[in-house]
């Protein structure tokens, strides 16, 4: 973990107003989508963010890419504060941070040819590639494993996996430093998922990219990430390296989440150790006081409701392999 910090989010908070009366009325409350998240992405590495629907992982991605402004907190790219960057400067910034989206069907304009789709970022940024635009596009298509001769075809002529490759080529067009991938493989079949993950790893290796990789599928993140943040109700509850997290999760929620994933090994010993959580995730409009997981936690005591645990190292000696956990009574690994 010696490589330098590339992208950093400090105390990021994003609240969405909820349920106002009339157009100018005051909102009744706020959806606390992201609530005090600190996150660091290092150069050439992959930061995985996992969590269930509504935990704020996509909002966090959109705040980090400056697609939406945080309510408070700040974002740094290579040490520079980019939280308040606007106008022209913001447009230049967009070259450095690109995004890959979940649905390869709705993220490509059906009326544009593949060539136009991939060239659009270069046209908007008025970057003329060496040689012609067409050459650069075909080079990108080859890079992501598409046939460059298909330059003039339209998205409907491609399969789901190929479309996701088009989305990746578009994200690469401006030579970004960071790629934020929001559930890039969850709409694809298993055999195709593996192809796309291999491609992303290959590109990271060849081009020195850094990824923020968001997924609800824990095994996908385990494979690709150098560090994993587990989110629950707008907060990071555990931050650890994947081997440590998956073999010995510290936060009870991480433990329950991991145990709920069905394993492709029939009726093995892990069956009886499955933890089935009771109830639902509470509403992010009025999240519970103290630890947000306390109501569903089998270890919760009064102190969990009285005081919110902070994200900290729970080992006796701070050790980067142990990771951070936001829990008063973390699982102790041996």
């Amino acid at each position: 973990m010696t490589s330098e910090v590339l992208l950093e989010g400090k105390e990021l908070i994003k609240y969405f107003p909820h349920g106002s009366k009339g157009i100018f009325g005051k909102p009744d409350g706020f959806v606390q989508a992201v609530d005090g998240v600190n996150i660091i992405l290092r150069k050439g590495q992959t930061l995985g963010i996992v969590g269930e629907s509504g935990c704020g992982k996509s909002t966090l991605a959109r705040v980090l890419t400056r697609l939406i402004d945080p309510t408070s907190g700040s974002i740094f790219l290579e040490g520079q504060d980019i939280t308040k960057v606007n106008g022209k400067e913001l447009q230049v910034l967009r070259r450095d941070i690109q995004m890959i989206f979940q649905d390869p069907y709705s993220s490509l304009n059906p009326r544009h040819s593949v060539g136009e789709i991939i060239a659009t970022p270069m046209r908007i940024q008025k970057i003329l590639p060496k040689g012609s635009e067409k050459l650069r596009v075909q080079e990108l298509m080859e890079l992501v494993g598409l046939n460059p001769e298909h330059y003039n075809r339209y998205p409907h002529e491609f399969s789901g996996g190929q479309r996701q490759r088009i989305g990746i080529a578009r994200a690469l067009a401006l030579n970004p430093k960071v790629i934020v991938a929001d559930e890039p493989v969850s709409a694809l079949d298993v055999s195709i998922q593996a192809q796309i993950l291999n491609l992303l790893e290959q590109l990271q290796h060849d081009l020195g990219l850094s990824y923020v990789f968001i997924a609800h599928d824990l095994s996908v993140v385990r494979h690709i990430a150098d560090e994993v943040a587990v989110m629950y109700l707008g907060k990071v509850v555990e931050l650890a390296r994947p081997d440590a997290l998956y073999s010995a999760p510290s936060h009870p929620y991480s433990k329950a989440l991991l145990s709920a994933v069905p394993s492709a090994t029939p009726r093995s010993s892990h069956m009886h150790s499955r933890i089935v959580l009771q109830g639902d995730v509470p509403s992010p409009i009025n999240p519970p006081n103290g630890c947000r997981f306390a109501a569903r936690c089998w270890k919760a005591k009064d102190s969990c409701i009285a005081q919110e645990p902070s994200l900290q190292s729970h080992g006796e000696i701070p050790d980067e392999n142990v990771g951070l956990v936001a829990c008063h009574f973390p699982e102790i690994s041996n």
């Binding site: 269930e52 629907s53 399969s159 789901g160 996996g161 190929q162 079949d189 298993v190 055999s191 195709i192 998922q193 593996a194 192809q195 993950l197 291999n198 790893e201 609800h216 824990l218 095994s219 996908v220 385990r222 494979h223 994947p242 081997d243 998956y246 073999s247 329950a256 989440l257 709920a260 994933v261 069905p262 394993s263 492709a264 090994t265 029939p266 009726r267 069956m271 499955r274 089935v276 959580l277 109830g279 639902d280 995730v281």
Partner: protein, 340 residues
């Protein structure tokens, strides 16, 4: 009650005529389901698994669809009965739950009225009060907290997991003998998925119904099914017990699918095992084995593979059936290691 052959599907073919040509969605599919057991149908998108399931309820009607073969349910050929008779079976003897619980529920009606409607359709002349009582019991059974207060609420007032519980309650209100679940947990989070799968298993243990579970998730199959049919290009390519499929898969496609999932489960970083290429178009299936273009084992017997479709047959000295021209030795079936 257990081990009665409840449903047997023989040589089912379903075709749809479209402006682009005839889509051969299901080709020569045969399987049977026993009471108290769960059959998993796995496959990727477009493999024909949902069409197979909806044929059992005779839902693929209309002028563009043509179905042939036989579907025997409790000795009755479903494909032969008229509309009135099939309506008596739908929702009472055979029930179905779908992937997306929000679109399965009508947003304009309370959940109570939707469950009661399902009951009254098959119990003509039942008193309103009694139907409501039965609906309340069912809601309680599927784990809706405080059903008396929530029965008069609308679908949007429930979470995704709770909505799927309501859909299950509606499906089970007439105590069906067969439940067809088409990707019942795909739209749900993993922790909720675990709750819903547990619930389905519990109810099956209680009333001994048979379940056909359609899914693309091999993990779900491993944890809930007794037998599995793997579909590819509209055909069943492997039929086995769960144990057999996961320990000794005999079809190259099952092999590749398991490999892709297992290498994800493994902690080691490095290249993931993939299946090259993409699934075939159902508009023009290859004349031989439809997996041939993606198969990495077919070199020696390519001629045979390309010329005719392999029948489902015994490959190993087990009960599993595989539609592959290659013999067990050629497939090197022992290559899959248990994940450590």
């Amino acid at each position: 009650m257990n081990n009665v052959r409840l449903l047997s599907v023989e040589n089912l073919n379903v075709e749809f005529s479209t402006s682009d040509g005839v889509v051969h969605a299901v080709n020569d599919v045969s399987f049977s389901v026993h009471s108290g057991k769960t059959l998993g149908i796995v496959g990727e998108s477009g493999s024909g698994k949902s069409v197979t399931a909806s044929s059992i309820l005779k839902l693929n009607t209309g002028i563009t669809a043509s179905t042939s073969g036989s579907i025997l349910f409790n000795g009755k050929n479903i494909l032969g009965v008229d509309d009135k008779a099939i309506r008596a079976i739908r929702g009472s003897e055979i029930a179905m739950i779908f992937q997306d619980p929000l679109s399965a529920l009508n947003p304009y009606y309370t959940i109570g009225s939707q469950i009661i409607e399902a009951y009254k359709v098959h119990h003509k002349g039942v008193k309103k009060k009694e139907a409501r009582k039965i609906a309340l019991e069912m809601l309680h059974r599927v784990g809706i907290p405080n059903p008396e207060a929530r029965i008069d609420e609308y679908p949007h007032q429930f979470s995704g997991g709770m909505r799927q519980r309501i859909v299950i309650a509606t499906a089970l209100i007439n105590s069906p003998k067969l439940l067809i679940a088409d990707e019942p947990t795909t739209a749900l989070d993993v922790t909720v998925q675990a709750q819903i799968l547990d619930l389905m298993k519990d109810i099956q243990r209680e009333n001994g119904m048979a379940i056909i579970l359609i899914t693309h998730d091999l993990g779900v199959v491993a944890e809930t099914c007794d037998d599995v049919a793997v579909m590819y290009g509209g055909r069943i390519v492997e039929k086995a017990s769960v144990q057999e499929l996961f320990v000794t898969p005999t079809h190259p496609y099952s092999f590749g699918l398991l490999g892709a999932v297992r290498s994800l489960d493994n902690s080691a970083r490095g290249e993931l095992q993939t299946i090259a290429g993409s699934p075939p178009s159902l508009l023009n299936l290859p004349s031989g084995c439809s997996f041939l273009p993606r198969c990495s084992y077919a070199d020696a017997s390519r001629q045979q593979c390309a010329s005719f479709v392999p029948p489902l047959q015994n490959v190993l000295p087990t009960n599993s059936l595989s539609a592959c021209h290659l013999r067990a030795e050629a497939l090197n079936v022992l290559k899959i290691k248990e994940p450590s």
